[in-house]
């Protein structure tokens, strides 16, 4: 999308690469959670059976999990993603105020993402390598001390429960916010929303426009 399109009523929030990354991760997470819960909860295990098959699906999906992120970062298409990773990682004093006031303060300087969205993204980013490594230790345990296998299981289980809770809240939030949902499905948000709710992001978009740089895609 070019600067011309930005002058219309829509602003690009997530470019094609970011949306592809989000939905690839989402699909893998859902498969991993479904198979993981079936392996973990005894009532489901005995209901579904086929433990070996479920285990294989879980392990293969887990091994695939880092690939979308690596692929999204691997080429010249990563510009929008990189800018957003930077935005998600960097916190201002206002983000802290927004978080401690549960969203009542810090609105006037809101950037592209609020502190809750930042926390969500950061937590998920931390979960991917942790679940990947602990899951690998659980699967290929023989080179390690047995206590590591127990420790890896401990970390994997607790983290997966926390991640399931975070993803549930994330989905509920998205479903209650049609604008956000549309942004991740089609990529854009109305310009009025940006101006009203994301003044700092609006300024960034404007600065990019004036520099003549493309905002995305």
């Amino acid at each position: 999308m070019t600067a011309t399109a930005l002058d219309a009523n829509e602003v690009v929030r997530f470019d094609r690469v970011e949306r592809w990354l989000h939905w690839s991760n989402a699909s893998l997470f859902l498969v991993l959670l479904a198979t993981g819960m079936t392996l973990y909860i005894p009532a489901l295990s005995s209901l579904v059976g086929r433990r070996v098959l479920l285990k294989d699906i879980h392990v293969i999906s887990g091994l695939l999990l880092p690939l979308p992120l690596l692929a999204a970062y691997a080429g010249s298409w990563r510009g929008g993603l990189r800018r957003d990773v930077r935005r998600l990682s960097r916190w201002s004093v206002e983000d802290r105020r927004w978080l401690t006031s549960r969203g009542r303060r810090g609105q006037a300087t809101m950037g592209k993402f609020n502190a809750g969205q930042k926390l969500n993204a950061i937590f998920v980013a931390g979960c991917i390598p942790l679940l990947f490594v602990t899951g690998s230790i659980m699967k290929w345990f023989s080179p390690f001390p047995l206590a590591w296998r127990t420790g890896a299981t401990f970390v994997h289980d607790w983290l997966a429960i926390a991640l399931a809770a975070v993803i549930t809240v994330h989905i509920l939030k998205a479903l209650s916010d049609p604008v956000a949902l549309r942004a991740m499905l089609r990529g854009t948000v109305p310009r009025a929303v940006v101006v009203r709710h994301h003044p700092r992001w609006a300024a960034e978009v404007e600065a990019e426009r004036q520099d003549g740089t493309e905002s995305s895609e």
Binding site: S45, R90, S92, K118, G151
Partner: protein, 251 residues
């Protein structure tokens, strides 16, 4: 062309790379969890088990550190045999082979009750599990073991899992052919209708879905010494004295 923001306000510039720090912190904590999680987990189990026992919803029993059984099976689907279909064969180097049904095991042979902890080699432990069944020693006495027999081999009706004990281990008082655990019949996920319970050893010795007990004169490949033993676990699986672990003994 109208600018999006007429008068850009001044935004705070003291942004900190919190994301990188949080992710690195998570990785650090995760590493510590892998190294010391086994110890933390046993501490938490001690704290959680009273909660789990009084929790009628059963939700706390789903927490990773809680005092609960995890259901493992090595085959495609969980093997199933009804009480009526169930038969246990005892044969091999014995005077008189036997085929027992569930009523034989439940009503016609002397019963032994045992309450012991169940300790899995992967770290979880369930305290004070009540077991009921026939002492393996009694069963072996009934069939008459040949004088040159050395080991006992167990087969699961999942068709894959096997286990072995030395004759001496098999004749201990705390090794049961169990048809009840946790106050009721052994359920399918727990290895019902009949499973082995080897109290002093790690859980993988307590073979589920017991199909056949064979007294042998020597251990031979490929099934021996057992399913997990062939994947590197210790054959003499005493709790706290094998597999490089120091759990509190269960017997």
């Amino acid at each position: 062309m109208e600018p999006i923001v007429p008068d850009p306000p001044v935004f705070p510039v003291e942004d900190r790379p919190v994301g990188r720090r949080v992710v690195l912190g998570m990785l650090g904590l995760g590493g510590l969890g892998v190294l010391f999680g086994a110890k933390v987990q046993s501490g938490m189990a001690a704290f959680l088990s009273p909660l789990t026992r009084n929790d009628r919803t059963g939700l706390t029993s789903l927490l990773p550190s809680s005092d609960r059984f995890r259901i493992y099976s090595v085959t495609e689907s969980m093997p199933s045999r009804t009480d009526a279909q169930y038969r246990l064969v005892v044969d091999g180097a014995v005077d008189q082979s036997l085929e027992l049904d569930l009523a034989d095991l439940r009503d016609r042979l002397p019963q032994t009750n045992l309450t012991r902890d169940f300790q899995c080699v992967t770290g979880w432990r369930v305290a004070d599990v009540p077991w009921r069944g026939v002492k393996l020693a009694d069963l072996l006495a009934t069939v008459g073991v040949a004088p040159d027999a050395t080991h006992v081999r167990f087969y699961s009706f999942d068709g894959v899992y096997t286990e072995t004990l030395t004759l001496e281990q098999a004749q201990r008082d705390d090794v049961l052919v169990a048809h009840e655990m946790l106050g009721g019949p052994v359920t399918q996920p727990h290895g019902g209708p009949v499973r082995l319970y080897v109290a002093p050893m790690y859980g993988y010795k307590s073979l589920k879905w017991l199909d056949r007990i064979e007294v042998v004169r020597a251990l031979d490949a490929p099934t021996d010494p057992g399913y997990w033993e062939n994947l590197g676990y210790d054959t003499d699986a005493w709790v706290g004295e094998s597999n490089g672990l120091d759990d509190a003994p269960t017997a």
